[in-house]
């Protein structure tokens, strides 16, 4: 009887552990890789966009302290926590103006959040630099640090 109870306990522990594992895996899954309706680009894509749209607005969704480590020349700072329709309207001239968001890198999440907010506000020409500053620096593209 005692033996059976032990086995039961073991099963319960195993279940809890495995479900915990699934929960962690689920959080990893939460890294947003695609946002429907948004153009996802890499570093070269950013430069091509800049060539294509001379008025391309680049929004840095990182917090100020992260931006101090260096930023893409010409970008404007608007941390995701401050991103709302009002603030966006202040810097984006019109609803279909080419606008690109970036943050530190794929695991940062801030740019994805900001893009979604912008989508919600009705902006239609949205671009998203998924690799972020990490990819930019790694590929030896120029950045400003002040």
């Amino acid at each position: 009887m005692c033996h059976i109870r032990h086995n039961l306990l073991r099963l319960i522990i195993l279940f809890v552990l495995s479900s915990g594992g699934l929960a962690i895996a689920g959080e990893e899954e939460k890294i947003v890789k695609h946002i429907p309706g948004v153009n996802k680009v890499d570093a070269e894509g950013v430069i091509d966009l800049a060539g294509k749209f001379p008025g391309l607005l680049i929004i840095d969704s990182r917090i100020v302290s992260d931006r101090a480590q260096g930023y893409i020349e010409g970008s404007r700072s608007l941390p995701d926590i401050d991103t709302d329709c009002e603030n966006l309207a202040r810097i984006i001239p019109d609803m279909d103006h080419p606008t690109l968001f970036y943050c530190n890198g794929p695991e940062c999440g801030r740019s994805a959040r900001a893009v979604k907010i912008a989508m919600g506000c009705g902006y239609s020409n949205l671009h998203w630099f998924f690799g972020g500053f990490e990819e930019w620096q790694e590929k030896n593209y120029p950045y400003i640090k002040k």
Binding site: A43, E44, V46, I47, D48, A50, G51, P54, L56, I72, E73, G74, K139, N140, Y141, P142, I144, K145
Partner: protein, 547 residues
Amino acid sequence: MQFTRLSIKTSLVLTILLVGLLGLGLALTSTTVYRDVILDYKRQSLSELLAVKTADQLDKLEEQAMEMGNSLKTSPRFREALDRQDTATLSAALRQQFHQYFVTAHVLRLERLIVRSTDYELITSASSRKTALTGDGSACPSLAHEAALRQGAKRLKIISKLCNNNGMPYFSLLLPVGGLVPKGYLEIITSPTLSLKPIENDLAIPLCIRLPDEEILYSSNQWPDNRENGLTARYALSTSDGSNTALFIEAYEDTQEMSAELVRTRNTLLLSSAILIALVIFFALALLRRTLVRPLEILNHKLQLLHNDNSSLGEPIHAPSNIIEVNQLVDDFNKMSAELHDLYGRLERMAYTDSMTRLPNRGLFNDYVDHLLAKYNDTGQHFALLLIDLDEFKQVNDEYGHEAGDMLLCETASRMNSVLRTPSMSGQNGFSLAEIADRDLLVRLGGDEFAAIIPAFDNSQQVEEVARKLAEITRQPVQLYNTPLTIHLSIGIALYPADGSGRTSLLRHADSAMYHAKNHGRDYCFYDHTMNDNRTSAHPETSPTQD
């Protein structure tokens, strides 16, 4: 091949010393090898460290150059001048960098700044007054050439190069200007030497930076002229294309303390080895003395003793040892000594015995007489020498044959011996004079001649009694082939010291007395001086010259 003769002790000490010296030599050599290996290893690690530090410093240099370039290119005056292609303003902005340069002077040494168009054509440039660069172009022409080959987004990348120009090293950085759509490029040319200096503080050791032709560009204050007391590690920094050496970066580390520590360790090792060797020699010798040297010394002593006097031959020696071979040797020696003793005895007997009568012979007789002469000298003791001749013995030989003569001699000898106190001749051991000492001795001198010695008599009557008994006992007939034969003796007696003081004179006088007895038909006769040698003795040893 000839070897010097050595004692066991010496050869053992020499062997241990030799092994010890070999060990010490090995220790000395290994210390040197060990030191060299350590130094090589240290040198290699230090140059690897230099390589890592140099790479770090060049990365830092690149970052600093970029920061400088950023501050220049983001200034509104510069951007506007570039937009207008205003060469004069651009040139002035570049020159201003050299004037402002003292701000960053301790981290960056600017040599030249160049503004290039999007096609990498030179728009304008400004150089440091101190630069060794000639003309107004790039220090690394390959940089612009390589940049021109790029397409699309890659044209925005920052590229840098380390190269040699006119024998001097330069670090060049090409930075796009004008945001994400380049409007031109800024080429920043620096001298890397200044940026490499901090390595000396990082590693806290003296540093020296040399040109490929060994000319010193920079050396720390502590850089020693004489670097024999330490190790110098060198890292050859290659140009970016890998074709040449841009710089040699050297670091010096004083190894005197390490060498001193090694020498101390070696000396301790040598000292303990020497003590160990001394102990080993001491114990080995002590052990050897117990097991080998002592028994061999006893053996050797015995042999020396036997060399001078073999009387102790046959006496076993006692030399216990733990070594089987040594015990075996001692046992074998004792066995051999006993056998030799036996053999000597038999040889002595053979040498001193008359083979026919089994009586002692002339050899023992002479020795015994000499022995008594030496012993009785000036002691007042007497001995009598009797020469005995068988009368008409030749006739017996002629008449009955030699065999009968021999039988007669043996019988006569046996009878005479029964009268005298001659020791037994039948023993296994040889005669020794000590054994016969002070006893009568009857010997056969040869042919039909016998002799007897009667030592330590009190008066001449005792001698006369013996002579009479000898004559009497031999006078009884001997049965030869059923024929009774009667033998007559003639006995000549000489007394010591009255009748002579030497063997020859005694024999000569006894001989005279014997002939006197024979001529006068008497059984025996004492010598007196009236008998003086009126005949020449038949005995060769009685010639006066031998006296």
